[in-house]
Protein backbone atom coordinates (compact mmCIF):
# COMPACT_ATOMS: atom_id res chain seq x y z
CA UNK A 1 0.00 0.00 0.00
CA UNK A 2 1.23 3.47 -0.87
CA UNK A 3 1.95 5.49 2.29
CA UNK A 4 -0.07 8.65 2.80
CA UNK A 5 3.05 10.82 2.76
CA UNK A 6 3.44 10.15 -0.98
CA UNK A 7 0.10 11.78 -1.62
CA UNK A 8 1.04 14.73 0.54
CA UNK A 9 4.26 15.18 -1.43
CA UNK A 10 2.39 15.14 -4.75
CA UNK A 11 -0.22 17.59 -3.50
CA UNK A 12 2.42 19.90 -2.04
CA UNK A 13 4.21 19.91 -5.38
CA UNK A 14 0.97 20.76 -7.16
CA UNK A 15 0.21 23.49 -4.64
CA UNK A 16 3.65 25.05 -5.06
CA UNK A 17 3.43 24.88 -8.86
CA UNK A 18 0.07 26.63 -8.65
CA UNK A 19 1.46 29.23 -6.27
CA UNK A 20 4.44 29.96 -8.52
CA UNK A 21 2.16 30.05 -11.53
CA UNK A 22 0.09 32.80 -9.93
CA UNK A 23 3.17 34.76 -8.97
CA UNK A 24 5.15 34.38 -12.20
CA UNK A 25 2.76 34.01 -15.15
CA UNK A 26 1.11 37.19 -16.40
CA UNK A 27 -1.64 35.82 -18.59
CA UNK A 28 -4.98 35.80 -16.82
CA UNK A 29 -6.00 32.45 -18.30
CA UNK A 30 -2.81 30.74 -17.18
CA UNK A 31 -3.30 32.20 -13.70
CA UNK A 32 -6.78 30.69 -13.71
CA UNK A 33 -5.24 27.28 -14.47
CA UNK A 34 -2.73 27.78 -11.66
CA UNK A 35 -5.59 28.48 -9.24
CA UNK A 36 -7.30 25.25 -10.33
CA UNK A 37 -4.04 23.44 -9.55
CA UNK A 38 -4.06 24.84 -6.02
CA UNK A 39 -7.64 23.76 -5.42
CA UNK A 40 -6.98 20.30 -6.79
CA UNK A 41 -3.87 19.95 -4.63
CA UNK A 42 -6.16 20.43 -1.64
CA UNK A 43 -8.54 17.86 -3.15
CA UNK A 44 -5.80 15.24 -3.36
CA UNK A 45 -4.97 15.83 0.28
CA UNK A 46 -8.60 15.61 1.34
CA UNK A 47 -9.24 12.36 -0.52
CA UNK A 48 -5.99 10.77 0.62
CA UNK A 49 -6.54 11.68 4.28
CA UNK A 50 -10.12 10.55 4.03
CA UNK A 51 -9.12 7.19 2.56
CA UNK A 52 -6.48 6.52 5.20
CA UNK A 53 -8.65 7.50 8.14
CA UNK A 54 -11.55 5.36 6.83
CA UNK A 55 -13.93 8.29 7.01
CA UNK A 56 -15.87 9.61 4.07
CA UNK A 57 -16.06 13.31 5.07
CA UNK A 58 -12.97 14.34 3.14
CA UNK A 59 -14.22 12.87 -0.11
CA UNK A 60 -17.52 14.69 0.27
CA UNK A 61 -15.69 17.96 0.89
CA UNK A 62 -13.66 17.42 -2.28
CA UNK A 63 -16.88 17.03 -4.30
CA UNK A 64 -18.04 20.41 -3.04
CA UNK A 65 -14.64 21.88 -3.86
CA UNK A 66 -14.92 20.66 -7.46
CA UNK A 67 -18.27 22.44 -7.76
CA UNK A 68 -16.82 25.62 -6.25
CA UNK A 69 -13.87 25.45 -8.66
CA UNK A 70 -16.27 25.29 -11.59
CA UNK A 71 -18.18 28.32 -10.32
CA UNK A 72 -14.93 30.16 -9.81
CA UNK A 73 -13.79 29.42 -13.36
CA UNK A 74 -17.13 30.65 -14.70
CA UNK A 75 -16.83 33.96 -12.89
CA UNK A 76 -13.17 34.31 -13.81
CA UNK A 77 -13.91 33.75 -17.50
CA UNK A 78 -16.81 36.21 -17.39
CA UNK A 79 -14.56 38.88 -15.94
CA UNK A 80 -11.84 38.16 -18.49
CA UNK A 81 -14.34 38.56 -21.34
CA UNK A 82 -15.37 41.95 -19.97
CA UNK A 83 -11.71 42.90 -19.74
CA UNK A 84 -10.93 41.75 -23.26
CA UNK A 85 -13.86 43.68 -24.69
CA UNK A 86 -12.73 46.93 -23.14
CA UNK A 87 -8.93 46.69 -23.35
CA UNK A 88 -8.11 43.98 -25.93
CA UNK A 89 -5.72 42.24 -23.57
CA UNK A 90 -5.58 39.36 -21.12
CA UNK A 91 -2.28 40.37 -19.60
CA UNK A 92 -2.65 41.35 -15.96
CA UNK A 93 0.50 43.51 -16.06
CA UNK A 94 -1.25 45.91 -18.41
CA UNK A 95 -3.78 46.71 -15.70
CA UNK A 96 -2.20 49.76 -14.15
CA UNK A 97 -4.91 52.40 -13.79
CA UNK A 98 -5.15 51.93 -10.05
CA UNK A 99 -2.02 52.62 -8.12
CA UNK A 100 -0.77 55.06 -5.54
Amino acid sequence: MIPVSYYVVVSTMMFVIGLLGILIRRNFLIILFAIELMLNAANINLVAFSHYSNAIDGQIVSLFVIAIAAAEAAIGLAIIIVLFRSQRTTNVDELNLLKW
Binding site: F15, I35, A42, F64, G76, I79, R85, Q87, L97
Partner: protein, 483 residues
Protein backbone atom coordinates in the same frame (compact mmCIF):
# COMPACT_ATOMS: atom_id res chain seq x y z
CA UNK B 1 -25.72 -0.86 4.73
CA UNK B 2 -28.02 1.41 6.61
CA UNK B 3 -28.01 5.09 5.92
CA UNK B 4 -29.76 7.26 8.44
CA UNK B 5 -31.10 10.52 7.16
CA UNK B 6 -29.62 13.39 9.11
CA UNK B 7 -31.99 15.32 11.29
CA UNK B 8 -32.54 18.54 9.39
CA UNK B 9 -34.38 21.45 10.93
CA UNK B 10 -35.17 23.72 8.03
CA UNK B 11 -36.29 26.50 10.37
CA UNK B 12 -32.62 27.11 11.16
CA UNK B 13 -32.03 28.49 7.66
CA UNK B 14 -35.40 30.24 7.26
CA UNK B 15 -33.93 33.78 7.00
CA UNK B 16 -31.48 32.67 4.33
CA UNK B 17 -34.15 30.75 2.43
CA UNK B 18 -36.34 33.86 2.27
CA UNK B 19 -33.43 35.88 0.93
CA UNK B 20 -32.58 33.22 -1.65
CA UNK B 21 -36.15 33.20 -2.92
CA UNK B 22 -36.24 36.99 -3.13
CA UNK B 23 -32.88 37.04 -4.94
CA UNK B 24 -34.02 34.44 -7.48
CA UNK B 25 -37.26 36.40 -7.99
CA UNK B 26 -35.14 39.49 -8.70
CA UNK B 27 -33.14 37.69 -11.39
CA UNK B 28 -36.34 36.42 -13.01
CA UNK B 29 -38.20 39.72 -12.80
CA UNK B 30 -35.30 41.87 -14.00
CA UNK B 31 -35.93 41.62 -17.80
CA UNK B 32 -39.62 42.49 -17.39
CA UNK B 33 -39.08 45.71 -15.49
CA UNK B 34 -38.57 48.83 -17.65
CA UNK B 35 -35.40 50.81 -17.04
CA UNK B 36 -37.08 53.76 -15.34
CA UNK B 37 -38.79 51.46 -12.84
CA UNK B 38 -35.70 49.49 -11.73
CA UNK B 39 -35.81 51.26 -8.40
CA UNK B 40 -38.85 49.19 -7.46
CA UNK B 41 -36.61 46.10 -7.55
CA UNK B 42 -34.43 47.79 -4.94
CA UNK B 43 -37.42 48.41 -2.69
CA UNK B 44 -38.51 44.82 -3.28
CA UNK B 45 -35.11 43.55 -2.07
CA UNK B 46 -35.26 45.84 0.97
CA UNK B 47 -38.65 44.26 1.70
CA UNK B 48 -37.06 40.82 1.42
CA UNK B 49 -34.28 41.78 3.80
CA UNK B 50 -36.79 43.15 6.33
CA UNK B 51 -38.88 39.98 6.05
CA UNK B 52 -35.77 37.89 6.58
CA UNK B 53 -34.92 39.99 9.63
CA UNK B 54 -38.43 39.51 10.95
CA UNK B 55 -38.11 35.74 10.54
CA UNK B 56 -35.21 35.81 13.00
CA UNK B 57 -37.91 36.09 15.66
CA UNK B 58 -38.63 32.39 15.19
CA UNK B 59 -35.00 31.59 16.03
CA UNK B 60 -34.73 33.97 18.98
CA UNK B 61 -33.23 32.37 22.06
CA UNK B 62 -32.99 28.93 20.44
CA UNK B 63 -29.94 26.71 20.43
CA UNK B 64 -30.08 24.60 17.29
CA UNK B 65 -27.36 22.53 15.71
CA UNK B 66 -28.53 20.94 12.50
CA UNK B 67 -27.41 19.63 9.08
CA UNK B 68 -25.15 17.15 10.84
CA UNK B 69 -23.51 19.85 12.93
CA UNK B 70 -22.84 22.10 9.94
CA UNK B 71 -25.13 24.97 10.87
CA UNK B 72 -25.63 26.27 14.37
CA UNK B 73 -28.16 28.80 15.53
CA UNK B 74 -27.28 30.57 18.73
CA UNK B 75 -27.31 34.12 19.98
CA UNK B 76 -23.91 34.76 18.43
CA UNK B 77 -25.16 33.79 14.97
CA UNK B 78 -28.35 35.83 15.34
CA UNK B 79 -26.38 38.86 16.51
CA UNK B 80 -24.27 38.79 13.36
CA UNK B 81 -27.20 37.98 11.08
CA UNK B 82 -28.87 41.16 12.28
CA UNK B 83 -25.69 43.14 11.63
CA UNK B 84 -25.41 41.81 8.06
CA UNK B 85 -29.08 42.44 7.32
CA UNK B 86 -28.76 46.05 8.45
CA UNK B 87 -25.61 46.48 6.35
CA UNK B 88 -27.37 45.23 3.23
CA UNK B 89 -30.45 47.38 3.78
CA UNK B 90 -28.26 50.46 4.22
CA UNK B 91 -26.15 49.57 1.17
CA UNK B 92 -29.21 49.27 -1.05
CA UNK B 93 -30.60 52.54 0.27
CA UNK B 94 -27.25 54.21 -0.48
CA UNK B 95 -27.15 52.77 -4.00
CA UNK B 96 -30.27 54.11 -5.76
CA UNK B 97 -28.91 57.40 -7.00
CA UNK B 98 -25.35 56.22 -7.52
CA UNK B 99 -26.17 53.26 -9.75
CA UNK B 100 -28.49 55.45 -11.80
CA UNK B 101 -25.66 57.91 -12.45
CA UNK B 102 -23.31 55.07 -13.36
CA UNK B 103 -25.92 53.34 -15.57
CA UNK B 104 -25.80 50.10 -13.61
CA UNK B 105 -29.32 50.24 -12.19
CA UNK B 106 -30.09 46.61 -12.96
CA UNK B 107 -31.95 43.97 -10.98
CA UNK B 108 -28.87 41.75 -10.87
CA UNK B 109 -27.14 44.37 -8.76
CA UNK B 110 -29.66 43.89 -5.96
CA UNK B 111 -29.80 40.14 -6.50
CA UNK B 112 -26.04 39.76 -6.11
CA UNK B 113 -26.08 41.91 -2.98
CA UNK B 114 -28.69 39.54 -1.55
CA UNK B 115 -26.63 36.46 -2.45
CA UNK B 116 -23.57 38.00 -0.82
CA UNK B 117 -25.73 38.67 2.25
CA UNK B 118 -26.81 35.01 2.35
CA UNK B 119 -23.16 33.97 2.36
CA UNK B 120 -22.39 36.44 5.14
CA UNK B 121 -25.36 35.26 7.20
CA UNK B 122 -24.25 31.64 6.98
CA UNK B 123 -20.70 32.45 8.08
CA UNK B 124 -21.33 33.09 11.80
CA UNK B 125 -23.55 29.99 11.80
CA UNK B 126 -20.90 27.76 10.27
CA UNK B 127 -19.66 25.19 12.76
CA UNK B 128 -18.01 22.98 10.19
CA UNK B 129 -15.08 23.72 7.91
CA UNK B 130 -17.14 22.69 4.88
CA UNK B 131 -20.09 24.98 5.57
CA UNK B 132 -17.64 27.74 6.43
CA UNK B 133 -15.80 27.32 3.13
CA UNK B 134 -19.00 27.20 1.08
CA UNK B 135 -20.53 30.31 2.63
CA UNK B 136 -17.24 32.17 2.31
CA UNK B 137 -17.20 31.35 -1.40
CA UNK B 138 -20.85 32.35 -1.87
CA UNK B 139 -20.10 35.72 -0.33
CA UNK B 140 -16.83 36.25 -2.21
CA UNK B 141 -18.09 35.22 -5.63
CA UNK B 142 -21.04 37.60 -5.50
CA UNK B 143 -18.63 40.33 -4.47
CA UNK B 144 -16.22 39.62 -7.35
CA UNK B 145 -19.03 40.21 -9.81
CA UNK B 146 -20.30 43.29 -7.98
CA UNK B 147 -16.81 44.80 -7.94
CA UNK B 148 -16.55 44.52 -11.72
CA UNK B 149 -20.16 45.58 -12.17
CA UNK B 150 -19.45 48.87 -13.98
CA UNK B 151 -18.34 46.95 -17.05
CA UNK B 152 -17.83 50.06 -19.19
CA UNK B 153 -15.40 51.51 -16.66
CA UNK B 154 -11.84 50.13 -16.99
CA UNK B 155 -11.15 50.92 -13.32
CA UNK B 156 -14.02 48.79 -12.16
CA UNK B 157 -12.91 45.88 -14.37
CA UNK B 158 -9.37 46.20 -13.11
CA UNK B 159 -10.60 46.22 -9.52
CA UNK B 160 -12.73 43.17 -10.27
CA UNK B 161 -9.78 41.25 -11.68
CA UNK B 162 -7.51 42.15 -8.81
CA UNK B 163 -10.15 41.23 -6.26
CA UNK B 164 -10.95 37.99 -8.06
CA UNK B 165 -7.32 36.87 -8.25
CA UNK B 166 -6.44 37.67 -4.65
CA UNK B 167 -9.74 36.35 -3.37
CA UNK B 168 -9.51 33.05 -5.20
CA UNK B 169 -5.88 32.70 -4.16
CA UNK B 170 -6.88 33.28 -0.53
CA UNK B 171 -9.64 30.71 -0.63
CA UNK B 172 -7.25 28.21 -2.21
CA UNK B 173 -4.84 28.75 0.65
CA UNK B 174 -7.62 28.44 3.24
CA UNK B 175 -8.76 25.23 1.58
CA UNK B 176 -5.26 23.78 1.74
CA UNK B 177 -5.18 24.66 5.42
CA UNK B 178 -8.56 22.96 5.87
CA UNK B 179 -7.18 19.83 4.18
CA UNK B 180 -4.27 19.69 6.62
CA UNK B 181 -6.49 20.32 9.60
CA UNK B 182 -8.72 17.51 8.41
CA UNK B 183 -5.75 15.20 7.96
CA UNK B 184 -4.56 15.98 11.45
CA UNK B 185 -7.86 15.51 13.25
CA UNK B 186 -9.92 13.31 10.92
CA UNK B 187 -12.95 15.57 11.11
CA UNK B 188 -14.16 18.82 9.63
CA UNK B 189 -16.41 19.69 12.54
CA UNK B 190 -15.02 22.56 14.62
CA UNK B 191 -16.05 21.06 17.95
CA UNK B 192 -14.60 17.73 16.82
CA UNK B 193 -11.34 19.42 15.87
CA UNK B 194 -11.22 21.07 19.26
CA UNK B 195 -11.71 17.73 21.03
CA UNK B 196 -9.12 15.99 18.87
CA UNK B 197 -6.54 18.71 19.45
CA UNK B 198 -7.25 18.70 23.18
CA UNK B 199 -7.02 14.90 23.35
CA UNK B 200 -3.48 14.74 22.03
CA UNK B 201 -0.70 17.20 22.61
CA UNK B 202 -0.24 18.69 19.14
CA UNK B 203 0.73 22.23 20.01
CA UNK B 204 4.17 21.81 18.42
CA UNK B 205 3.17 19.49 15.60
CA UNK B 206 4.48 20.86 12.28
CA UNK B 207 1.26 19.91 10.51
CA UNK B 208 -0.76 22.04 12.90
CA UNK B 209 1.63 24.95 12.45
CA UNK B 210 1.38 24.67 8.65
CA UNK B 211 -2.40 24.49 8.85
CA UNK B 212 -2.56 27.53 11.13
CA UNK B 213 -0.19 29.54 8.94
CA UNK B 214 -2.24 28.71 5.85
CA UNK B 215 -5.49 29.68 7.58
CA UNK B 216 -4.03 32.93 8.93
CA UNK B 217 -2.76 33.77 5.44
CA UNK B 218 -6.15 33.12 3.90
CA UNK B 219 -8.03 35.09 6.52
CA UNK B 220 -5.38 37.80 6.26
CA UNK B 221 -6.33 38.28 2.61
CA UNK B 222 -10.02 38.36 3.42
CA UNK B 223 -9.73 41.00 6.14
CA UNK B 224 -6.93 42.83 4.27
CA UNK B 225 -4.29 42.48 6.97
CA UNK B 226 -0.67 43.37 6.27
CA UNK B 227 1.22 41.80 4.42
CA UNK B 228 -1.82 40.58 2.49
CA UNK B 229 -3.45 43.98 2.05
CA UNK B 230 -2.10 45.03 -1.37
CA UNK B 231 -5.37 44.39 -3.15
CA UNK B 232 -7.55 46.47 -0.84
CA UNK B 233 -6.71 50.05 -1.92
CA UNK B 234 -6.94 49.22 -5.63
CA UNK B 235 -10.17 47.29 -5.29
CA UNK B 236 -11.74 49.89 -3.01
CA UNK B 237 -10.89 52.64 -5.46
CA UNK B 238 -12.15 50.91 -8.58
CA UNK B 239 -15.31 49.25 -7.31
CA UNK B 240 -18.68 51.07 -7.36
CA UNK B 241 -18.72 53.11 -4.15
CA UNK B 242 -21.67 51.35 -2.45
CA UNK B 243 -19.92 48.04 -3.12
CA UNK B 244 -16.72 49.45 -1.65
CA UNK B 245 -18.71 50.23 1.47
CA UNK B 246 -20.16 46.73 1.39
CA UNK B 247 -16.66 45.22 1.16
CA UNK B 248 -15.33 47.42 3.89
CA UNK B 249 -18.18 46.81 6.34
CA UNK B 250 -19.84 43.54 5.39
CA UNK B 251 -17.10 41.30 4.15
CA UNK B 252 -14.78 42.36 6.96
CA UNK B 253 -17.39 41.76 9.66
CA UNK B 254 -18.24 38.40 8.08
CA UNK B 255 -14.61 37.31 8.00
CA UNK B 256 -14.21 38.26 11.66
CA UNK B 257 -17.41 36.51 12.67
CA UNK B 258 -16.12 33.23 11.30
CA UNK B 259 -12.54 33.81 12.42
CA UNK B 260 -13.78 33.82 16.01
CA UNK B 261 -15.57 30.52 15.41
CA UNK B 262 -12.56 28.87 13.77
CA UNK B 263 -9.88 30.18 16.10
CA UNK B 264 -11.77 30.17 19.37
CA UNK B 265 -14.03 27.15 18.96
CA UNK B 266 -11.78 25.03 16.75
CA UNK B 267 -8.24 26.00 17.63
CA UNK B 268 -8.64 27.38 21.12
CA UNK B 269 -6.35 24.73 22.58
CA UNK B 270 -3.53 25.90 20.32
CA UNK B 271 -3.80 29.58 21.30
CA UNK B 272 -0.07 29.52 22.04
CA UNK B 273 0.64 28.49 18.45
CA UNK B 274 -1.23 31.32 16.78
CA UNK B 275 -1.23 34.37 19.04
CA UNK B 276 2.34 35.34 18.19
CA UNK B 277 1.65 35.25 14.46
CA UNK B 278 -1.49 37.33 14.94
CA UNK B 279 0.32 39.79 17.26
CA UNK B 280 2.86 40.59 14.58
CA UNK B 281 0.21 40.81 11.85
CA UNK B 282 -1.96 43.08 14.00
CA UNK B 283 0.84 45.54 14.79
CA UNK B 284 2.01 45.68 11.17
CA UNK B 285 -1.55 46.10 9.94
CA UNK B 286 -2.53 49.04 12.09
CA UNK B 287 0.78 50.84 11.70
CA UNK B 288 1.05 50.48 7.94
CA UNK B 289 -2.65 51.25 7.42
CA UNK B 290 -2.46 54.48 9.38
CA UNK B 291 0.90 55.66 8.08
CA UNK B 292 0.10 55.12 4.41
CA UNK B 293 -3.35 56.65 4.81
CA UNK B 294 -1.65 59.95 5.66
CA UNK B 295 -0.31 60.46 2.14
CA UNK B 296 -3.47 59.55 0.20
CA UNK B 297 -5.25 62.09 -1.97
CA UNK B 298 -8.10 59.81 -2.97
CA UNK B 299 -10.83 59.41 -0.34
CA UNK B 300 -11.68 55.85 -1.30
CA UNK B 301 -8.02 54.82 -1.03
CA UNK B 302 -7.73 56.70 2.25
CA UNK B 303 -10.74 54.86 3.62
CA UNK B 304 -9.26 51.61 2.33
CA UNK B 305 -6.10 52.15 4.36
CA UNK B 306 -8.20 53.24 7.31
CA UNK B 307 -10.19 50.03 7.08
CA UNK B 308 -6.91 48.08 6.95
CA UNK B 309 -5.92 49.82 10.17
CA UNK B 310 -9.28 48.95 11.74
CA UNK B 311 -8.73 45.28 10.91
CA UNK B 312 -5.52 45.58 12.93
CA UNK B 313 -7.38 47.01 15.93
CA UNK B 314 -10.01 44.28 15.72
CA UNK B 315 -7.39 41.54 15.83
CA UNK B 316 -6.39 42.75 19.30
CA UNK B 317 -9.55 41.19 20.66
CA UNK B 318 -8.71 37.88 19.06
CA UNK B 319 -5.14 37.93 20.33
CA UNK B 320 -6.28 38.67 23.87
CA UNK B 321 -8.59 35.70 23.41
CA UNK B 322 -10.34 36.41 26.69
CA UNK B 323 -13.98 37.09 27.27
CA UNK B 324 -13.52 40.87 27.23
CA UNK B 325 -11.64 40.67 23.94
CA UNK B 326 -14.37 38.75 22.16
CA UNK B 327 -17.05 41.08 23.50
CA UNK B 328 -14.94 44.00 22.37
CA UNK B 329 -14.70 42.66 18.81
CA UNK B 330 -18.48 42.46 18.57
CA UNK B 331 -19.05 45.90 20.08
CA UNK B 332 -16.38 47.45 17.87
CA UNK B 333 -17.66 45.76 14.72
CA UNK B 334 -21.18 47.13 15.17
CA UNK B 335 -19.86 50.66 15.62
CA UNK B 336 -17.35 50.24 12.80
CA UNK B 337 -20.03 49.12 10.37
CA UNK B 338 -22.14 52.22 10.86
CA UNK B 339 -19.30 54.72 10.89
CA UNK B 340 -17.53 53.34 7.85
CA UNK B 341 -20.77 53.16 5.87
CA UNK B 342 -21.37 56.77 6.85
CA UNK B 343 -17.96 57.84 5.60
CA UNK B 344 -18.55 56.13 2.25
CA UNK B 345 -21.96 57.78 1.95
CA UNK B 346 -20.15 61.09 1.74
CA UNK B 347 -18.21 59.85 -1.30
CA UNK B 348 -21.46 58.71 -2.89
CA UNK B 349 -22.98 62.15 -2.29
CA UNK B 350 -20.15 63.96 -4.06
CA UNK B 351 -20.34 61.69 -7.11
CA UNK B 352 -22.48 63.22 -9.85
CA UNK B 353 -22.55 63.38 -13.64
CA UNK B 354 -19.04 64.13 -14.85
CA UNK B 355 -17.49 64.20 -11.37
CA UNK B 356 -16.02 61.01 -9.94
CA UNK B 357 -15.89 62.79 -6.62
CA UNK B 358 -13.32 60.54 -5.01
CA UNK B 359 -10.54 63.11 -4.57
CA UNK B 360 -10.15 64.89 -1.26
CA UNK B 361 -9.97 68.15 -3.21
CA UNK B 362 -13.49 67.51 -4.52
CA UNK B 363 -14.70 68.23 -0.99
CA UNK B 364 -13.38 71.79 -0.96
CA UNK B 365 -15.68 74.09 0.94
CA UNK B 366 -18.37 71.53 1.53
CA UNK B 367 -19.09 73.13 4.87
CA UNK B 368 -20.12 76.40 3.14
CA UNK B 369 -22.49 74.80 0.67
CA UNK B 370 -23.80 71.92 2.78
CA UNK B 371 -23.05 72.55 6.47
CA UNK B 372 -25.19 69.67 7.73
CA UNK B 373 -23.47 67.06 5.55
CA UNK B 374 -20.06 68.33 6.62
CA UNK B 375 -21.08 68.17 10.28
CA UNK B 376 -22.28 64.59 9.82
CA UNK B 377 -18.94 63.68 8.34
CA UNK B 378 -17.17 65.12 11.39
CA UNK B 379 -19.25 62.80 13.53
CA UNK B 380 -18.11 59.76 11.52
CA UNK B 381 -14.51 60.96 11.54
CA UNK B 382 -14.59 61.36 15.32
CA UNK B 383 -15.97 57.86 15.60
CA UNK B 384 -13.34 56.40 13.26
CA UNK B 385 -10.60 58.03 15.31
CA UNK B 386 -12.21 56.91 18.55
CA UNK B 387 -13.15 60.14 20.28
CA UNK B 388 -16.15 60.29 22.63
CA UNK B 389 -19.12 60.50 22.48
CA UNK B 390 -19.22 58.10 19.54
CA UNK B 391 -19.51 54.37 18.88
CA UNK B 392 -15.86 54.15 17.87
CA UNK B 393 -14.74 55.35 21.28
CA UNK B 394 -16.71 52.71 23.16
CA UNK B 395 -15.38 49.97 20.89
CA UNK B 396 -11.77 51.06 21.18
CA UNK B 397 -12.05 51.43 24.93
CA UNK B 398 -13.21 47.83 25.16
CA UNK B 399 -10.52 46.54 22.81
CA UNK B 400 -7.65 48.27 24.61
CA UNK B 401 -9.06 47.18 27.93
CA UNK B 402 -9.05 43.59 26.66
CA UNK B 403 -5.41 43.88 25.60
CA UNK B 404 -4.43 45.19 29.02
CA UNK B 405 -6.39 42.51 30.87
CA UNK B 406 -4.74 39.87 28.70
CA UNK B 407 -1.32 41.27 29.57
CA UNK B 408 -0.56 42.60 26.09
CA UNK B 409 0.62 46.05 27.21
CA UNK B 410 2.76 46.80 24.17
CA UNK B 411 -0.10 45.98 21.85
CA UNK B 412 -2.36 48.45 23.67
CA UNK B 413 0.30 51.18 23.57
CA UNK B 414 0.96 50.71 19.84
CA UNK B 415 -2.78 50.78 19.15
CA UNK B 416 -3.24 54.02 21.09
CA UNK B 417 -0.34 55.66 19.23
CA UNK B 418 -1.92 54.55 15.98
CA UNK B 419 -5.23 56.13 16.90
CA UNK B 420 -3.35 59.37 17.39
CA UNK B 421 -1.85 59.08 13.90
CA UNK B 422 -5.28 58.55 12.40
CA UNK B 423 -6.37 61.91 13.80
CA UNK B 424 -4.14 63.57 11.20
CA UNK B 425 -5.63 62.23 8.02
CA UNK B 426 -9.28 62.35 9.07
CA UNK B 427 -8.92 65.94 10.14
CA UNK B 428 -7.11 66.73 6.93
CA UNK B 429 -10.42 66.00 5.19
CA UNK B 430 -12.29 68.13 7.72
CA UNK B 431 -9.81 70.94 7.12
CA UNK B 432 -10.42 70.81 3.37
CA UNK B 433 -14.16 70.91 3.96
CA UNK B 434 -14.09 73.85 6.37
CA UNK B 435 -11.11 76.01 5.41
CA UNK B 436 -10.99 75.89 1.62
CA UNK B 437 -13.13 77.87 -0.81
CA UNK B 438 -15.80 75.92 -2.69
CA UNK B 439 -15.23 75.60 -6.44
CA UNK B 440 -18.89 75.63 -7.46
CA UNK B 441 -22.33 75.25 -5.92
CA UNK B 442 -21.65 71.49 -5.50
CA UNK B 443 -25.05 69.92 -6.09
CA UNK B 444 -25.08 66.69 -4.09
CA UNK B 445 -26.73 63.57 -5.44
CA UNK B 446 -29.26 63.07 -2.68
CA UNK B 447 -32.12 60.64 -2.86
CA UNK B 448 -34.84 60.19 -0.20
CA UNK B 449 -33.61 56.71 0.67
CA UNK B 450 -30.05 57.95 1.04
CA UNK B 451 -31.17 60.71 3.41
CA UNK B 452 -32.91 58.14 5.60
CA UNK B 453 -29.85 55.86 5.49
CA UNK B 454 -27.49 58.68 6.40
CA UNK B 455 -29.67 59.73 9.33
CA UNK B 456 -29.83 56.14 10.59
CA UNK B 457 -26.05 55.82 10.44
CA UNK B 458 -25.43 59.13 12.15
CA UNK B 459 -28.02 58.34 14.82
CA UNK B 460 -26.62 54.88 15.56
CA UNK B 461 -23.03 56.16 15.67
CA UNK B 462 -23.99 58.80 18.20
CA UNK B 463 -26.46 56.66 20.13
CA UNK B 464 -23.98 53.81 20.67
CA UNK B 465 -21.48 56.35 21.93
CA UNK B 466 -23.88 57.83 24.47
CA UNK B 467 -25.74 54.70 25.47
CA UNK B 468 -23.77 51.55 24.53
CA UNK B 469 -25.56 49.48 27.17
CA UNK B 470 -27.83 47.37 24.86
CA UNK B 471 -25.13 46.49 22.34
CA UNK B 472 -22.67 45.52 25.08
CA UNK B 473 -25.26 43.32 26.73
CA UNK B 474 -26.01 41.72 23.36
CA UNK B 475 -22.32 41.13 22.72
CA UNK B 476 -21.78 39.60 26.16
CA UNK B 477 -24.60 37.11 25.73
CA UNK B 478 -23.35 36.36 22.20
CA UNK B 479 -19.86 35.33 23.22
CA UNK B 480 -21.20 33.07 25.95
CA UNK B 481 -21.08 30.23 23.41
CA UNK B 482 -17.29 30.34 23.51
CA UNK B 483 -17.05 29.73 27.24
Amino acid sequence: METALPNIQLIAILPEMILALVACALFVAEPFVPLEKKESLGYFSIGGLLLSGFSLVFLWGKEISTFNGMIAIDFYAIFFKMVFLSISILIIMMSFRYIEIQHINLGEYYGLILFATIGMMFLPSATDLLSFYLSLELMSMSLYVLTAFMRKDPRSIEAGIKYFLTGVFASGVILYGIAFLYGLTGTTNLTGIHEQLAGQDLSSSPTLIIAVILMVTGFGFKIAAVPFHMWAPDVYEGAPTPITAFLSAGSKAAAFSVMLRVFITGLEGSHDTWWQILWLVSVLTMTLGNVVAMVQTNIKRLLAYSSIAHAGYLMIGLIAGNNVGLTAILVYLVGYVFMTLGAFTLVILICRKGVRGDQISDLRGLARTHPLVAATFILFALSLIGIPPTAGFVGKLYLFNAAIQGGFYWLAIIAILNSAISLYYYFNIVKVMYMDEPLDAMPLSFSPALKVALSIMAFVTLFLGLYPEPIIRGAISSVKIFL
